[in-house]
Symmetry: D2
Subunit: 345 residues, 4 copies
């Protein structure tokens, strides 16, 4: 099956190509980049010299539909809202890695993204692709809104405990840290090496567009409107996200019991690894892989649980989960193309 990749010169696209290369049922089809159309792909990415030697194409919906079986959109926010409707009219299944189809509320989209939202008709059709939580709707979806990197780590870390009665739902604080690749390949001072190397920086306090996405999922899963405090930090490393999540408990429970609860919740989910009591995952322990590792610790002095959830932002936080969703959509083993071990060190 051929996969078209739109937004072919961003990091999301590159990671899709790395994973599709391992995939037993998918291969790279059209690679589209309006800004660099005509150039050979390996000019932009010399690491693919002699591997992907095809020209970058312009966006041509008919050509894409003719030569490909599924479309991955790895474009910035505001782009796929225009392209997806055209692609869906041809009957192609779309997996969108941007934020354009994630929020059900048009008002929220407008408020947080500062952009005009897409047509509600398409929003309605979009299935939120948090693979471990929504496999049934993903199976039958035509359009996947692939989750954001922070929301993936945050919600996988929180959902099991939100399903219990012991979580104080008003107490959720998510202190999130990301490697710099999350800011993409577009040039900006915040990603300029000498500025961010040997530096740690908080950004977008109270204003990150992933806040409403996280709250939408947590509200759905807990059954109650949920508000969170969410702070993002840039860490001087290329890949990796860690969410350190703080939650007040309404009753006493031990770390061991919570670990058991999480183990039970994720027992059939190959890409979520709940760590045993006393161990806490580090971001490098999932580097290059599709795992989300979760560690748990109850602080008896304050009756809070600290949840540490780590992913590779470009894999489980983007391209890997997109492939995982394609696997679910097409009825393949969920792990197809994703059986890569973390690269360590």
């Amino acid at each position: 099956m051929k996969a078209a990749i739109i937004g072919g010169t961003g990091y999301g696209a590159i990671e899709l190509i790395r994973l599709i290369n391992q995939h037993p049922y998918l291969e790279v089809g059209s690679v589209v980049s309006n800004s660099q159309a005509g150039n050979n792909f390996s000019e932009s990415y010399p690491h693919l010299t002699q591997i992907i030697e095809q020209p970058l194409e312009t966006f041509d919906v008919e050509a894409i539909a003719k030569n490909n079986d599924v479309v991955f959109l790895a474009t910035p926010s505001g782009v796929s809202s225009n392209l997806v409707p055209q692609l869906m009219e041809t009957g192609m299944k779309c997996i969108d890695l941007s934020g354009d189809f994630r929020l059900r509320s048009l008002e929220q989209y407008e408020a947080w993204y500062k952009r005009t939202p897409t047509d509600y008709e398409y929003i309605k059709q979009a299935v939120y692709g948090l693979s471990e939580i929504y496999p049934e709707t993903i199976k039958t979806a035509s359009l996947i809104a692939n989750p954001g990197c922070y929301p993936t780590a945050a919600t996988l870390g929180l959902i099991p405990i939100l399903k219990t009665a012991i979580a104080d739902m008003e107490s959720i604080i998510i202190d999130a840290k990301s490697g710099v690749s999350g800011a993409g390949r577009g040039l900006s001072l915040i990603s300029h090496y000498a500025e961010i190397n040997e530096n740690l920086k908080a950004y977008k306090l109270g204003a990150h567009q992933h806040i409403p996405e996280i709250e939408q999922v947590l509200s759905d899963e807990s059954g109650n409107p949920t508000t969170v405090t969410f702070t993002t930090h840039l860490v001087p490393m290329t890949r990796g996200i860690m969410c350190t999540i703080y939650l007040k408990l309404t009753e006493t429970i031990s770390t061991k019991e919570i670990v058991n609860l999480y183990n039970e919740f994720y027992k059939d989910k190959p890409f979520v690894r709940v760590r045993p009591e006393g161990t806490i995952p580090a971001t490098k322990e999932v580097l290059g892989s599709n795992y989300c590792d979760i560690g748990l610790h109850v602080d008896e002095r304050t009756n809070r649980v600290t949840i540490i959830s780590v992913i590779d932002n470009l894999v489980k936080g983007a391209a890997g989960q997109a492939i995982q969703n394609a696997n679910i959509m097409f009825g393949w083993d969920e792990r197809s193309g994703l059986n890569l071990l973390p690269m360590y060190p």
Copy 2:
């Protein structure tokens, strides 16, 4: 005035030497390292070739007293508790950078440090050297317990608001991040380059020995027993600490008002820079300097304030504050030897 430095081959000592070199009234006297006594200093630290070319000495209390006017102890926990009493008997003023004299409660020391505490007689004499908060007692002290790196950033970030009536004292969460130099020069897998480079790691959840130190200061300053949730992370950079602090507010207040409150509180303190509304400090913005920079943001959705406090862990978090305390003790300008600008980039 000559300053003896005990623990001469650790990073704290090295930073003391860098700063004393700038100091108008201090110069480096004896440098003591039992483990490397006899070696020339620049063998351990070639960056001081032709600058500090003296041999490392063994600990000899009489020689130290004879040849020096003040003593800085930059030794690991458990060492200065033995040395300080000997030094004080000679009448020398001591500034201890370790945790041995910081906790007033012997039980707490034993519980968190897993060591036998020192004699209470000396604990009683120790003045906690948080320079901005306790200048009056520092002035007349014979023994300074120089604050820990995390407690410095955390308490300077919290004290102004704890003095008001608007802080929910049970809601304090401190998410702390540190560069790897905080782990010292002793070899361990956690500081091994290939393990921590491109990695982000939480450690000592609920067990860090700085927890009781922070709680002691906050309890003193707020006037009520205060408990905090405190989580530490290692960030792949050499220097820098950031505390991201979350606090529930008991009434509505704007970011602007809190910024004003902090500005007022720290108006005569040259090393605390409260950032204007809308800007948040990054660790590199204090690199190599004695500044503690503080940024504030009220999230109106959740009525929480987020406080970002950054320091260079080896300067304001260790050697710089020690020099600042010496300046206060000896009646010099607080800024002597510390007027270094942050090194950027």
Copy 3:
């Protein structure tokens, strides 16, 4: 086919496991670590939690022979010289990643490694596993001396031009740079994060044990005794080796002609990518993959060619080439288990 791995807690072993996990014909058998025998593997390497959950074993030649089909030794120098003879007596094929069987001259081994060499009987049987150059002897070997990381990059960069008449053989200078993982997982100040981060350091000038290895290969391939100047540097990154090689030309030749010559030489070698004129490889462009990328530039002002050769030191410089050699020995496609794209960024 089951592969035993000796030296199971080093970085070489970990990388073997990552690659064997992708391999169609190999799977991980016994993992041996005398120092940590009995421990569960994922205690040492939590990134393999729920993936490799077997205990580390002690070295027991009979058990290894019984339960495995091939042995990879990823032990430090001086260890496999003792183990390989025992393993070979059982008839097992051995691939040794250490330097113990690489030098044909016992005197050279003793002079550069400062150790007693192994029995010459075994040295004689060892085939030097530079996969692109010696496939015919590798095919029938019982014992492979897997090349060192620097020699792999250096010799693959030099051999094609040494086969011509245009190289001034006395002019070879190899300026080599390596990521820190090359120093292994053993603790030392040189690999201590705060010492090597933001630092660049030359080491072992004129004394690196890879010098005689490089000279042995170049002498063999050029047909003349060859001496090189070889300098190694540690670069603050985890993985990657670059050799910048300088060679005087005895006649005038263009960059284009040399690129053609290299392309011709490596035309059937899937893991050597000769870059087109005007482009030069960077280490990240082979990260995590088995590629050796080579760039060439003739400086007409000085009539020297500069050859840039890059590899991932843990893949083509260690575990990847070991797997490649196993593939050749067992008659499998050379690329089995190695079809991983470079991870970028």
Copy 4:
């Protein structure tokens, strides 16, 4: 004395400000940035909040002349060639950190910089500011062409041996490595964090504009036209340059003898530290300081000497040497404002 700084938002200017802040006789006067004129300085550089709170000015030659006593130009190539003539007409002394006045040959400038050179009248007046080598002409200069970062490290490493009869002048190879801050604050993919972090990259092979500058100095000092092979690499760190220099010897000499020769040559030069035999400097050992450290090693097998020369590219390679030149010009102690120890770690 007031120092105007032109090009106030680049890294060179920032470093000038850091050093001038320490200087007993200089203080910051006008800071000029045409692109950001009107903005408060600390908006561009928050690390200077509450320290340098003056607005950035436009270039106004009269205002500069009126309010300042000396001018430092830290502008990109091609800018100061226009500004210096205007400034000199007012009688102000200028220190130019760009390449515009370094090359005496207009043809060379045009060929390597791909720009129109400045008027030869001004080139003639410019004194090349390699402080250790040309103090006598610097003393009386009105215009200093401050050396490039690579040429400083390379020529200080080479000059002592070029003054002897034992150097094979046709054999000079300079393998140079730089931290990323050398590329400046202008945005480009080569300085984009995710591209250069964990990467090592050679660039501008045979085309770097510092080649003619190095050759000009070496020709002057050796008395013979000198050609070098010079290769530059970007290393994933912010600051630091290392030149690893290879030179064939025409007779036999020991490392000890060469170390003595260098010690003798630099005996009155406080900022050049020749390392004792057997030790080699690393870039971090000069970080933040004005030192140039030099290590030497003779390889008896090949009769080549390897010279390792390290500087901080922004200090001795730019702003520090500019201050050193101002000190010499104005008759102050050469070390004024530069007595900062390297920051370690």
